[in-house]
Amino acid sequence: MHSPETCHVQNAPLRPLLVKELWEILSGRALWTMLLLMCPLLGYSFLQATSLYGEASVAGLRSPVLASSLSPLDGVLVPTLGASYVAVTLLFPFVAIRVLGLEKESGALRLLVQLPYRPPALIAAKLAAVLAALVLSCIPAVSALVIWGMQGGHLSAPETLNLLFGHLLYGLLVGAIALFAASVSESAATAAIVTLAFTIGSWVLDFTVAGQPGFLAWIARLSLTQILRTFEQGLLSAGLVLGIGAAMFGFAALANVWLPPGVQVRDKVMRSIAWVVIVALVLGLATQIKLTFDVTEDRRNSFPAADQHLLASLAQPLVVTVNLAPEDPRYADLQRNVLAKLERAMPDVSIRLASGRQSQAATAGEDRYGEVEYAYGARSDVSRSTSPREILPMLYGLAGVSPPAPAPGSDYLGYPLVAGRGVALLWFFAGLPLCIALAWRWNRRLPKSITAES
């Protein structure tokens, strides 16, 4: 059985490794503690959100105009899943670090790297376990959506799935960072500090330098928190998904580089630099991808369908020159109401800030400050408006086409709802914690017999 010629142990079945990684993450207290903590956190957010939504709905039920502004995406989904974001930011790193950190601490990693799996297979199995933990951590959020639905609340499948997808990507990115941190750290505690430096650092970055001009604005965009904004706005951006995927892959690749204990540090550093360069190139490519889908039911990120159709047929380049400082609130309005929609609707749009990245104080005194110039083909016009109701007719005039007739029956009517609190209160503060505790106990049961897991 052990003769020197019989050692062909290069390819082993993946199933035992996957099963082992799943058991490892399910056996730890970290995951179940996080789930238990998420119950009141998410429950409180859901109750607050439905309460505020209910108060707004009282007026909305009397006035169709007010009702049209009531979207469950903004009113219920985003704030409820916001609690999930907090849990993933602060607690999930401790769960994800477990999959590698404990093995490093206990020395079991030295056994693991001798098994007939290549390091990428080991990292992939650990990421699969992180994904499984993440899916489990979605249970409180999904149960909130189910309760909302049972109470008569409306859920639009595309925008709900898009938001859940965004949170899943964010969680996976945090998991990949945690895995990388565990691979470079000698202890789980150090890995936790490194991961929290990323997640909480992003959070801090987000509210301290966001909205600032120049270099600070660029720094703010590096925040992990920014990832969710696009999904919360009801947008599915191919470039963003590629960027998150590349970042996840990058951290997983770095974890793969730093996992084997038998490699010299200088070799690991050289390989890491190569991966960082590759991922930076892919991230650069991702920023150039403009393909974005508006998945909201109220089409808030798009012009009316007839306008979208007509704008898509305007083939010449549109150049927009904005005489506003980046931190000017009018620029934010213009960007949200007009420019971002134009970029998605028209085939060739270029937008430039006349002041470059100078601050408002430096540019506000100029005569043309506030003007926005639209140049289509050989014709151009200037406007100070940030409303599509003024800009679109002007653009049609520049292009020499007639404005489309508004399509009847396409208005968003809104979904006002005054929901009760009893069911949610009982579920999040009693039912769900009890279910999680029972599942934890069931999971701790010991196997009855030996079976080869191949």
Partner: protein, 252 residues
């Protein structure tokens, strides 16, 4: 990868004639400016139990870890059946059982054994045989973190028995066992060797080493001070009836 071993590629003819399974040409390891291993070189012959002997701090663990490819070293030149075996591929030829490791702490013993058995496609019967041979049955349903030191060792040994590698490296395999238990483990190791497996054991208790090993590598201060059977070493030191302890003291 030309010139580098595929393990199975070594010809059966040469294997049958050459008793040397693994040749350590040179292993050198430094921490900062301090040399822990200095140009260590020795052979391991097929089917033998080789004892790497030395006091605490001699470099035994470092040597086994560098040999197994789980610790980087400044020089790490090893040949398997005459072919160069890079550190990144050592796990294809040998399996290293470290000292003081409790693998997968939160898992019950059965699950850890099932995992390793599954990785190497062992049958349930083979896993049960490994359990019986090291006496793990009483703690099968305990979690690894709750095992005593002795049972932790037995678990590691059972894992080693489930691996199919021709060469098994073990760091302090008798640490934590009483006399009876050591005898039982010696029997297990002898049985493995008799089935064609080669064992290299790092041991600091010289009487234990003398009881189980066929040949010895005497290590002190990171240098090899002697290699051979007990009789070889007696002849070299001129201590005709001396124990391994006497010889070690004479050579170091």
């Amino acid at each position: 990868m030309d010139g580098v071993l595929p393990i199975a590629a070594a010809s059966a003819f040469r294997q049958a004639r050459d008793p040397v399974l693994l040749r350590v040409d040179s292993i050198t390891k430094q921490y900062a400016d301090q040399a822990v291993l200095s140009d260590v070189a020795f052979d391991i012959q097929a089917g033998e139990i080789l004892g790497i002997i030395g006091p605490n701090g001699a470099g035994k663990t470092t040597l086994l870890e560098a040999l197994a490819g789980v610790l980087p070293a400044e020089a790490n030149d090893v040949r398997w059946r005459g072919e160069r075996l890079p550190a990144s591929r050592r796990h294809e030829a040998m399996f290293y059982l470290p000292d003081g490791v409790r693998p997968f702490l939160d898992q019950p013993v059965t699950r850890v054994l099932s995992f390793i058995g599954g990785v190497y496609r062992r049958s349930t019967g083979e896993i049960e045989d490994a359990i019986k041979s090291v006496g793990l049955t009483p703690v099968l349903h305990k979690r690894v973190h709750s095992l005593s030191k002795g049972y932790g060792r037995r678990l590691m040994l059972a894992l080693g028995l489930l691996t199919p590698h021709p060469l098994l490296l073990m760091d302090e395999p008798f640490d934590g066992f009483d006399l009876r238990q050591i005898r039982m483990i010696v029997d297990v190791l002898r049985r493995e060797a008799s089935e064609g497996r080669t064992l290299a054991l790092a041991i600091h208790q010289l009487p234990d080493a003398e009881r189980v090993c066929d040949r010895f590598v005497l290590l002190a201060d990171g240098r090899v001070r002697g290699v051979g059977t007990l009789n070889d070493l007696r002849a070299r030191t001129g201590i005709s009836e001396g124990s391994l302890e006497d010889i070690f003291l004479a050579l170091t």
